[in-house]
């Protein structure tokens, strides 16, 4: 052991970065596995939508043939991509919001005093959160398969890069919000002001041409909503197709949100310095 201490490698080497990334993802996965309730509730939420809401709504809302679908589909099949991205939305908000909460706050401090650059630490945390959301989404897809929602087998593979992108985008958005909001009374605030508007003003539950019929204004709001494009990206990818517009929008938003979050957490420029560390006592 004493020899090891002499040949101390710099943490700033490439291997150090890899070890750090691995460690952050490993911890996030461990925490997730330890918190059974979180996994169960992450799974129950979309299943309630699928089993109850979709069943009830099926008769009300007919879905015509729109790309990427080539045949008439059941409503359950239509909302599945929306629910997949909803899982990621909740996951992104929850894992980032937990940064604001005191219990997790200490962990954010532990993370930020690492000698590695902060952009790398935050990106690693995003990747870790996204990995956890992938676990949740695939668990949902398995149950949905038994419910009769059977996308082409290749779709399970082609949807993966789309899910990684949408997970990163929503995680980065959550991180940005966590850096902007000093103290959130509870999760309900974010539910009301971020999750619900994003989810309902999107193509997750109804095709946008339907929205257009009733309200052109809402249609444009939906078109501008990044969540819509995350859903469409996943919807097309699930049928092994690419929606280029959505891909562009999601890539652009991911980059923008990530840059903004990294800036917000920058010790010199960021908001932390101005209003005190998250959860930090002054």
């Amino acid at each position: 052991m004493s020899t090891l201490s002499q040949t101390r490698a710099s943490p700033l080497s490439l291997a150090g970065y890899a070890i750090c990334l691995k460690g952050i993802v490993w911890r996030e996965a461990l925490r997730f596995l330890h918190q059974r309730e979180r996994f169960v509730s992450a799974l129950v939420r979309p299943l309630v939508w699928l089993f109850i809401f979709a069943a009830g709504f099926r008769q009300v809302l007919g879905v015509s043939i729109i790309p990427p679908y080539e045949v008439y589909i059941l409503y359950e099949e239509y909302i599945t991509p929306g629910l997949m991205v909803m899982i990621q939305l909740f996951n992104g908000m929850q894992s980032s919001l937990s940064m604001v909460y005191d219990r997790e706050m200490g962990n954010m401090r532990t993370l930020l005093v690492s000698p590695l650059p902060r952009w790398f630490l935050l990106s690693s945390k995003l990747l870790a959160g996204t990995s956890v959301s992938l676990l949740q989404v695939y668990a949902y897809l398995v149950i949905a398969w038994f419910w009769g929602i059977e996308p082409p087998p290749i779709g399970y593979l082609t949807v993966l890069p789309a899910l990684i992108l949408s997970g990163l985008m929503l995680g980065a958005l959550g991180m940005l919000i966590s850096s902007l909001v000093k103290q959130l009374e509870n999760f309900a605030g974010v539910m009301n002001f971020v999750i619900f508007p994003m989810f309902f003003a999107s193509s997750a539950l109804y095709p946008l041409w339907r929205v257009r019929e009733s309200s052109p204004l809402l249609y444009y709001v939906c078109e501008l909503n990044p969540f819509t494009h995350a859903v469409e990206l996943v919807r097309f990818a699930l049928y092994a197709q690419v929606n280029w517009i959505s891909l562009t929008v999601v890539c652009g938003c991911t980059l923008a949100f990530m840059l903004a979050a990294i800036l917000a957490y920058d010790p010199a420029r960021g908001l932390l310095a101005r209003r005190g560390a998250p959860g930090g006592e002054t």
């Binding site: 052991m1 070890i19 401090r109 000698p115 630490l121 002054t282």
Partner: protein, 254 residues
């Protein structure tokens, strides 16, 4: 302090000021700490201790003044500075749902230390704080004092030469407090670690300790505890502290 010295100092702080909005938290703080010394940062709540720690550990950026750790500026070469610092924050920062060893391994990874080396070091560190048999237990099952000892073990995992602790004994009983204090003192003596120990409890100060008195963001005194007592014309450090802080004009730094 002299410039030549501060290049080698474990921690050198020069002219450090900090504001939250318009409220000034630190006002022209200057001091330096030599390697292998134990220094108590004494101040009431709101004196600026936590702000100082947040600046030293780069949670906030330095806006006026300089902080150097073994010659490395925290602002311009944060990586080199941070890898030399071990931190114990005032709030608990362990993952309650993970085991003691998992917490240590995570911290090691954040410092670029691989799993095998992390386990070896972790076991050695836990042995030092006499918690070897708890390595596999969830942190949640530990007592407050044991958690603190794990946090100290964790802070030392990457072998920093500067250890900063922000009110590490808050919420602990007398026995746990004295154990942790003794342990940290032994680190200074045996490993040559430089320790900055923030507290508002004067009874944690030994006669031979160096003390920095921080009050309303200003350094009022810096020197041996006995010298500060003498200088203030008091009988013990408690009354010296009271004398210093009641006089609003800052005295000469030792």
């Amino acid at each position: 302090m002299h410039d030549v010295k501060s290049a080698e100092a474990a921690l050198a702080i020069e002219g450090l000021s900090h504001w939250y909005g318009s409220r000034q938290a630190l006002d022209d703080v200057t001091f330096s700490l030599e390697p292998a010394t134990f220094t108590v940062l004494l101040g009431l709540n709101g004196a600026g201790k936590s702000t100082l720690f947040s600046l030293v550990t780069r949670l906030y950026g330095v806006r006026r003044g300089r902080i150097r750790v073994f010659g490395y500026d925290v602002g311009s070469s944060p990586g080199e500075a941070l890898r030399r610092i071990g931190v114990v924050f005032q709030p608990r920062t362990l993952d309650l749902d993970l085991s003691v060893m998992q917490n240590l391994r995570y911290h090691a990874a954040l410092h670029g230390i691989g799993a095998r080396e992390a386990c070896a070091r972790g076991e050695a560190m836990l042995a030092r704080v006499r918690l070897s048999e708890r390595a596999g237990d969830k942190v949640r099952s530990l007592s407050g004092g044991q958690m603190r000892r794990v946090e100290i073990a964790r802070a030392l995992l990457h072998r920093p030469q500067l250890l900063v602790l922000d009110e590490p004994t808050v919420g602990l009983d007398i026995k746990a407090r004295s154990e942790i204090l003794a342990h940290v003192h032994s680190l200074v003596a045996e490993e040559g670690v430089c320790v900055l120990w923030a507290t508002h409890l004067v009874d944690e100060i030994g006669e031979g300790d160096d003390v920095i008195v921080l009050h309303l963001g200003k350094v009022l005194a810096h020197g041996r505890a006995s010298a500060i007592v003498e200088q203030a014309g008091a009988t013990d450090i408690r009354s010296a502290f009271a004398t210093l802080t009641s006089a609003s004009s800052p005295s000469e730094a030792a």
